[in-house]
Symmetry: D3
Subunit: 149 residues, 6 copies
């Protein structure tokens, strides 16, 4: 049992995110991110540099290096799961915007994206589905992909 | 503007769910449901018969007949979106159980289902991912699909 | 069981939203919407025309034609339920704004709306209740309905 | 500014929940609760006695004495808002059960309750609406109120 | 049992929020709020004056006077719980902004706040943690507290 | 850009969770978990062995090894954040049970835990606070810690 007030750190070694082993993990995640994201995520990550560099590190090293790159689902399948989650959570429009872009980058069509968000209406209601579709519309407009179908 | 206290019904015709047109919609949804569900949903629907037959009707007629059967996404893709939504919502374990069964029925492998729920951990946190994985485990055990991989 | 990769569509007939039967359903929903909404929803629906016309169709045909117009609750009662749901969900401020307008249109007083959102504080906490009340304030201000009471 | 580590308590007087003024507030809430609840809530409150008597006190004194008893909405209206909130939150089945009973006690009919939960499907999705309807079914069954309609 | 349509008010006395006893409760809460908030909350409360003065009253009288000032947790501990709740709820960025300021006011360091939000990523996912960290960044920037660490 | 249908894996190396480097990360997390958990988590992790060993690995390696062990917050502070998050999410009672035990293990008193959950009522409502307090009551009862205070 740890003494009250003590840091768990005192009993273990937490590797610095700048250590060689963590930099290797980070680079691995960054390669995945670059492959699927097409360039918008780095700006988000840079925005974290002066406040939460460890959070930025773990988004990349864990989220993309450890999880996203795993076999078992291809990127299009992962994006369908992610679109479902972000639509259901609500209030995650900035992340949904990034992931609509990523969905296009990995090969989901605008029709598939719209269909996923329309499908969501039955499971989490029209309001959240509408919020998500208007995020998709913004991204599609930027890329000259409107009208859909 | 409608007078206070008046039902909107007074101004429009709401078709009875037993009308021929609604029965046609219902039959269409039931065919989809039978194709993807493999038999567990009807029991849920029957459970609604003595309390909310209209809700049961619309789950089938709208949810499956109008939405699920649409082109644009195949059933495996729809299930990936649905697994993401139900994991993120939380507290929907009964529906998740139905949809893990449906996911297997439409051809998602146990590995793909597990991978989708593992992927979810990064987007809605470990607790909800763990709740979902234990629902999947129950279904997989019933079908003799453990261990996975 | 459907073959992997196949669309459920291949086994069933999904009516086009432009078919006569679906147009009838849509017109019915539109009549309800016009009666309760007072004119703000059509703009939202038009915004969907170039990206998700089917979602717009079903919001109207299902949400208003099939559900809202049902007997059992009058529009004022439906709006109280809706205000409760949208406040609790969070992140649905655009829809809440539409529904505060609708609530006024169907005859809820500003006092009743404020009281519903104040009541919500005990059930979903002050932060969500405050978010909702500031949406209501915006609508009331537009209509010259401040101060309340 | 308060010194780090200091309790705000040091700067103010927090009335004991057993003080005469707080007992007066509590009694007022208890009278409201008794009028609307029909007897199930006290058991919940007693269950809190050995762990969180202050929480029990405030549920009664604030939730019922300060909020529920306010003018502006009658109890049936308050219950419609509450049913909407608890359905949307999810995971609050024990509280929803109490509030379905309360809804019946204050005069909502089984049809109105079912209609409210059916209405909810469009705003927070079928899964949460189904969870809520099965809670209502349990309460209706206990009271011999099935089938509905 | 209360008659349908009757207000519970008819059976009980709801004290006016301007009554001496309620003003005493309000003043108590205001003293707590002033001690921990450092001045931003009053503007929010004033914003409620012309629409929901009772909600503003209860935020102060109940939220701060009855709950926040209780012994058992010091303000820094209360803020850690609050940061966790607001991050998890999502969509409560305005309240989170107030509570990041309050957290600094009661003595949490920028490092502790960032660490709490980084910790949250594992429990409610990266998207909500990122939303929260960007709220913190805005507050830290206003106070000249960047870079952190 | 990755070809449609391709796994990101094809472009990068995902370390097997049984690799030496991942086992080192896992052992580090396990040491933290053992220090704070007091023995209940391993059973949860074992339950994942035949379905999602990678998820179990990352809960330990990332959640405890990378995040929990970080300096900046001591374990009692981390538990306060976690209690807030799990109470607000709802539907995470199994995880909340684990974390009430962990909270006691790292030195939070029963009074502090109860106070955190009572505090939560104002921010996410009474229903979720009540759900959480009854989880705490179960754990306290098992450990002979009732009545509190």
């Amino acid at each position: 049992m740890i003494p009250a007030g003590a840091s768990v750190e005192s009993m273990t070694h937490v590797p610095d995110i700048n250590s060689p082993e963590e930099q290797t993990r980070y680079e691995r995640g960054l390669a995945v991110l670059a492959a699927v994201d097409g360039g918008s995520a780095p700006a988000v990550m840079e925005n974290l540099a002066d406040i939460a560099p460890a959070l930025a590190h773990h988004v990349v090293a864990f989220g993309f290096g450890d999880i996203y790159a795993r076999p078992g689902l291809d990127p299009k399948q992962r994006q369908l799961v992610t679109l479902g989650i972000l639509t259901a959570l609500g209030g995650c429009e900035p992340q949904l915007e990034v992931h609509v872009r990523t969905s296009l980058n990995v090969g989901l069509t605008t029709t598939e994206i719209v269909e996923a968000l329309t499908h969501a209406a039955g499971y989490c209601g029209f309001p959240k589905a509408l919020n998500a579709i208007f995020v998709a519309k913004k991204v599609f407009a930027e890329r000259g992909l409107l009208p859909v179908g």
